[in-house]
Amino acid sequence: MAGVSEAATGHAEAHAHHPPYLQHHFVSAEQQFDAAKLGMWIFLATEILLFSGMFVAYAVYRVWHPEVFQAASKLLDWRLGGLNTLVLLASSYTVALAVHYAQLGDKKRLVQNLWLTVALAGVFMVVKYFEYSEKFHHNIFPGGNYAYEGLQLPYVGQFFSIYFVMTGIHGLHVLVGMGVLTWIALRAQRGDFSSEYYTPVEISALYWHLVDIIWIFLFPLLYLIH
């Protein structure tokens, strides 16, 4: 047969040692892992582009009204923002450790680090809650609803629109991440993962790092305008 021939081996070989986590349409565990990981990286690219809209709005309004952004930024507490940065960085570290232990097949430390990550995410949200409620208390709302007596400038509302929408969408991502990591932690406790198969741990960790990266940019852009 000159044209297309068929592999008698490929398929049968894959079935010979068929691990339970291998889905039928993949030839090998390696292919499945690579596909999942590429899928996650592409998803992260879409996440970056989702946030890019807010970054563009930020850049436009900051270029137009730098003095307003400077004044409005002072209403944010940079200490709380900095604390939250450290909290998220720590959670990124613990989730990286979780992947490390998953690769080594150390179930106990994997589970510990996953729960630690979830806990740190919880700390972040608690701090965020206090920040938000303090703002609402002072009638600092986004856009047209901004009514804080202490700072009345045109376009302050835009700064807080950007602040609330950016940190709001980011916070939503933190909540989603907490949910995902809790699920992964429960699965890890159940013993779903091994040094052979830890794809869900790794791709959830990738997602969590992205949440961290977004905050790495939000912190100086929103809290540290001099």
């Binding site: 000159a2 596909a35 899928g39 989702l50 809209g53 436009v60």
Partner: protein, 565 residues
């Protein structure tokens, strides 16, 4: 091997294939099979196409005479907006990738399925969730902003913008998941020997489309989200009454929506490449250029969105740069069109319905393309902007891209989807009706536009009556052609003649390596690919020994025209 694929048909044993291996509604609604998901999408987009088409006929009917003909101006605003929004978000964007792509892509690269079958099914449910969310807004309070949702009108109107915006946001996820799935599938799921230079051009088209879907759609998401927040919370980013900038909205919107044009056209290019290759029996002239020009268009498409905003208050500096970049798009597009023509040249043309659609495309699309260059010219756009010239231009691009390529592809893959042939004669008549109807509908609109007929008006001066009536009559011819398509395809679905495994003598894997109707896992064994998709001279399984009576497949029925070949 080629005989193996049709063995069951000759022995008369009931075949097991993807349509009949599991039965019942549940087996369809919970299916993870890319082919079945493609058919779920097929039914869905056809439904929305019918809705959008009826709205289009209503628009044309209202414009049959000056003044109020059928409906009030307000109703007209709702009708044309819904026509645009439904056709774009619920038909054109999913049509080719989600229906034909889902069905054919994994088989074409020799995979058992897409990389993430569950996400694939999820994307269909998300599609319906988004569509229904849109519908809530439309049914409760209508939509009268035009499909572009320009602020500040969209932040002021009492129509259902918020719901529709949320619906579009949800639909975006569906589009992203399809794109993500296809990219990973093409990267990771190719059969042994299926190198990048052996990918069928339809796969290249879908790959380029997926890049655009992934990179552009999230920005649409944040745009409509901000629009909804503008209405709910008065965030003031876009609303000038609150200090926002409406031109910024247009930047956001067109950063997605210009590339979205390529979401509609790139897969269409892929379909046309398959049709031209198969029915000219010669292979695609300049395969590499045709393949890579898709990717080039995908990226260049991101650099030109400002050409929608020449008269919106954008700076002249930006407009000039956007105009220059717009001309660049003409280069890879020209490469494609000229290469298709070169592929047909001295080919062994087999004039079947799918090729008729491809030829119609080759006539219609360049008209859309050239008028696009005209509109991209800064000075020329100022008088033509927001006239019927623009309406005619984008219908020439999108209807040729979306509809003609979709119909061409549907007629091409129909025998593989359902294992049945359709009535060739009726199909050719319908293709002719559609081609004539389309041109009669939209060509007069170019003239109307140059004469100054503005778009989105329900009334006009009496001088325009003749051309408007011509256009409306054209819409009836177009509608008639589509009705005919529906009629013979429905007939074929239940009573059509059984199709052989490879009725067109095509060279791609879905024809050469699957049964009449593909089995649930597509292949008996993973194929090993040793030739390109259009190397007809190497494809023994298609042409036998390469001369004489080409088909070894015993089930080929000459009745439907194989004999004339």
């Amino acid at each position: 091997m080629a005989t193996q694929t049709v063995a069951t048909a000759t022995t008369g044993q009931p075949e097991i294939h993807y349509l009949n291996h599991a039965k019942g509604l549940k087996s369809w609604l919970l299916t993870l099979d890319h082919k079945r998901i493609g058919l779920l999408y097929l039914v869905s987009v056809i439904f929305f196409f019918i809705v959008g088409g009826i709205l289009a006929l209503l628009v044309r009917a209202e414009l049959f005479e000056p003044g109020q003909t059928l409906m009030s101006a307000e109703t007209y605003n709702h009708i044309f907006t819904l026509h645009g929004a439904i056709m774009i978000f619920l038909f054109l964007i999913p049509a080719v990738p989600a229906v034909l792509g889902n069905f054919a892509l994994p088989i074409m690269i020799g995979a058992k399925d897409v990389a993430f079958p569950r996400l694939n099914l999820a994307s269909w449910y998300i599609f319906w969730l988004g569509a229904l969310t849109m519908l809530v807004g439309i049914v409760t309070s209508g939509l009268d902003t035009g499909w572009t949702f320009y602020t500040p009108y969209s932040t002021m109107t009492s129509s259902g913008v918020t719901w529709v915006a949320l619906g579009v946001f949800i639909l975006g996820f569906s589009s992203i998941l399809t794109g993500l799935n296809f990219i990973v599938t093409v990267h990771k799921m190719r059969a042994p020997g299926m190198t990048w230079s052996r990918l069928p051009l339809f796969v290249w088209g879908l790959y380029a489309t997926s890049i655009v879907q992934i990179l552009a759609t999230p920005v649409l998401g944040i745009t409509v989200l901000l629009l909804a927040l503008e209405r709910i919370m008065k965030v003031g980013i876009f609303d000038p009454a609150l200090g926002g900038d409406p031109v910024l909205f247009q930047h956001f919107f067109w950063f997605y929506s210009h590339p979205a044009v390529y979401i509609m056209i790139l897969p269409a290019f892929g379909v046309i490449s398959e049709l031209v290759g198969t029915f000219s029996r010669k292979g695609i002239f300049g395969y590499k250029f045709v393949a890579l020009s898709s990717v080039a268009i995908a990226f260049l498409g991101f650099l030109v969105w400002g050409h929608h905003m020449y008269v919106a208050g954008q700076s002249a500096t930006a407009s000039t740069i956007f105009s220059l970049l717009t001309f660049l798009i003409g280069v890879p597009t020209g490469v494609k069109v000229l290469n298709w023509i070169a592929s047909l040249y001295r080919g062994s043309i087999w004039l079947r319905t799918p090729l008729l659609y491809a030829l119609a495309f080759l006539f219609v699309f360049p008209i859309g393309g050239f008028t696009g260059i005209a509109l991209g010219t800064l000075g020329l756009d100022v008088p033509l902007h927001d006239t019927y010239f623009v309406v005619a231009h984008f219908h020439y691009v999108m209807v040729s891209g979306g509809l003609l390529a979709f119909l061409g592809g549907l007629h091409y893959w129909w025998p593989k989807m359902f294992g049945r042939l359709y009535n060739e004669k009726l199909a050719q008549i319908a293709a002719l009706l559609i081609f004539v109807g389309f041109n009669v509908t939209f060509f007069p609109q170019f003239i109307l536009g140059t004469q100054g007929m503005p778009r989105r008006y329900f009334d006009y001066v009496p001088e325009f009556t003749t051309l408007h009536q011509l256009s409306t009559v054209g819409s009836w011819i177009l509608g008639l052609g589509l009705l005919l398509v529906a009629a013979y395809l429905l007939h074929s679905l239940f009573k059509g003649q059984p199709a052989p495994a490879n009725p067109w003598g095509a060279g791609t894997l879905e024809w050469t390596h699957t049964g009449r109707i593909p089995s649930p896992h597509n292949f008996e064994r993973t194929p090993v690919v040793t030739r390109g998709p259009y190397d007809y001279h190497l494809a023994e399984e298609i042409f036998g020994n390469g001369h004489g009576d080409e088909r070894r497949t015993p089930t080929v029925t000459p009745a439907q025209g194989q004999a004339q070949h």
